[in-house]
Point group: C2
Chain length 395, copies 2
């Protein structure tokens, strides 16, 4: 029996994780749940999984939750509450699936408390990857990725030695605008950008996929998660998203992990690691039905986000954290109709140029850089960048 | 330092293995070499690798070899000689790369002597798979496949538990006649059948690839090598031969091994197992350059050999050995211009129907069935089967 702590239980990853838990009650027990503010879903989850501890964003949400909840459960709030959940002594594995930099502190606290991590929170590695992985190695804590690409690489490396790895090949769908011209990108609407060809995801990650910043952030994550130099991490466009990623070894052999584009696979792998679930309610891969798989090099001119991600790794220190914060502000501004789609990388680049890069030696450093970068990004958004064309404002 | 015994050293696998040995002298030492009759190549190999023991087919060949050979080396002959090589106390790993049923006895002797096997000889598993693998388990001997498909499955299973395997997906190029109609197959010449689209191989295996019997034999091998029921082994046509095979796990995840179609990859993996070579002089995979990969279900009507292989497994006992022997005679008859391409499966089917299936409890049983099946197959070839059309006799 594995005792789970799920942070971000009402999001897409959390909800799917709990579906897996429900189908495998003999394997998993839920100790604690954490959510931001979706109290209705959270109340239902409490009813079904009976955690002893629950965290929400703030006191007002806690009060609301208590009204909805029949079951007796301790409710804690804020970052302090999330950390209390993450470090509960009864938990074996923390599924870190909060969205944004707010996931960093609880995840780090869980690592320091010696808990294994199923990691879905990108920011943990993008903002403070070096720091987090150093602590994980020191505590001999396993960090099992939930992202489909990193899960694929993690699975491809099973039973292999790190010194045998020649390079990682992170696959990218190319997003909804793979075939669009640079000129077409200028007219992109929020609606079309949210329409991802393969994966059904939240708005932030869908936009990141459309700009390919998502892939850039994944390269940064992979750099720290697998402790490999950025030049050993390549991106390959593969529109069908069937090969989730690959590892090339020194003897020319390439190991790939494939599957239908469905998050339940990687989630179940991370939850049940090191074993595989005997049964999973998720679609099986049928390659004869799919028929063909395509591959091409990414177009770094059309999608500058990918180039910027590599540059931030080359610069090092706080540069990836700055990139991430600026991107969050830029995407939010695009979703709110304040800037054009093509302005997202412009805002990021301008912000990165204005923020002084320093080293990140503590989590506080990382969070401080995150705040500074956001402020500057907001100034950049308010300045001279392309605005959406009137006709294309469809949201 | 690993001490190697290479049986079949002058064939395609043997020659490539020795190239790898030559590039990695710090890792490999050659104890013994075995070949049939290619004395010129063998004499060169003796000069370069200085084995202490060499086996050839017969005394006449041995005399010829001694004339060519400046170096002092013990030369032994026949099956007894091959067994002496295979069991030499100084050897750690036997590369079993002889062609045909003649490889069975030396391979079994090596297993009994407790030596790990890099297995390229198909017949060992097709003719006596159950027997051989039982002995290997008893002696805790590792059987590492050299065939690209089985090597792929072996690599995909690294670090995984057998109970997590849902099925194997053996990929097949489909051979040179994948797009030919049944009518076209009637006109197939030896020359066109030898022209494999992806792999450069010997004539027997090229014809087997054209009839898809090669894939059938591989399914039989996989059945014993991985100890999985035949219904858990699927064949998928993949014309580019880039994905060498796959394993689907119970949690819907699929692990595949990919590479350029080049035997040096699987050979080096088997020789250096469990480690991977740090460097290999073989082409690297470039998926962006390849562009696309296709997949389709095999056409069992056009290629009945595959169906017959599954049927032989269902019948059990000596049926796969009979299938293999009949196929060898049929292919030889096709290559000699005695029967038409479409008669190959007909000869096999008729032979299988005429040979009484018995159990195989000793290697002698297997070899006896092999002999009987060959005799009957020769009778079938002499009987009423389709002959090549005059115009198409190009060899």
């Amino acid at each position: 029996m594995k005792n789970l702590i799920i942070l971000g239980s009402t999001g897409s990853i959390g909800v799917n994780a709990l579906k897996i838990v429900e189908a495998n009650r003999d394997r998993f027990n839920v100790v604690a749940l954490g959510a931001k503010a979706s109290v209705k879903i959270l109340a239902q989850q409490i009813e079904i999984f009976c955690p002893k501890l629950v965290s929400v964003a703030d006191r007002a949400t806690a009060t609301e939750l208590r009204k909805l909840c029949r079951r007796r459960v301790k409710v804690v709030t804020g970052v302090k509450g999330a950390i209390e959940c993450a470090t509960d002594p009864d938990g074996d594995l923390v599924l870190s699936a909060m969205v944004g930099a707010v996931g960093l502190e609880p995840t780090m606290a869980a690592i320091i408390a010696g808990k294994d991590i199923a990691l879905a929170n990108k920011e943990t590695l993008v903002v403070a990857g070096e720091l987090v992985m150093k602590e994980a190695r020191r505590k001999r804590v396993k960090i099992i990725p939930v992202d489909s690409e990193h899960s694929a690489i993690f699975q491809a490396m099973r039973g292999e030695k790190k010194k045998s790895v020649r390079r990682l090949i992170v696959t990218a769908s190319g997003g909804p605008f793979l075939r669009s011209s640079k000129k077409d990108l200028k007219k992109v609407t929020v609606k079309s950008a949210l329409n991802h060809p393969n994966w059904s995801m939240g708005p932030k990650i869908s936009i990141d996929s459309a700009t390919m910043m998502n892939k850039g952030l994944e390269v940064i994550e992979a750099r720290w998660l697998f402790n490999l130099k950025p030049e050993l991490i390549d991106v390959l466009v593969h529109p069908q998203s069937i090969i989730h990623s690959m590892v090339e070894f020194t003897d020319t052999s390439v190991i790939a992990q494939l599957g239908a584009p469905d998050m339940r696979g990687p989630i179940s792998f991370a939850l049940n690691y090191p074993d595989r679930l005997e049964k999973l309610d998720a679609p099986r891969l049928d390659l004869a039905k799919i028929g063909l798989l395509n591959f091409e090099e990414p177009d770094l001119k059309k999608f500058p986000a990918l180039r910027m991600a590599y540059e931030s790794l080359a610069r090092g220190g706080s540069a990836p954290a700055t990139l991430n914060a600026a991107n969050e502000v830029a995407v939010e501004s695009f979703l709110n109709g304040r800037i054009a789609f093509t302005s997202i990388p412009v805002v990021v680049e301008k912000t990165v140029q204005r923020v002084d890069g320093g080293s990140v030696t503590t989590i506080e450093d990382a969070l401080s850089i995150d705040r500074t970068a956001r402020e500057i990004a907001r100034e950049v958004v308010a300045g001279p960048v392309a605005r959406p064309q009137r006709l294309t404002l469809t949201l």
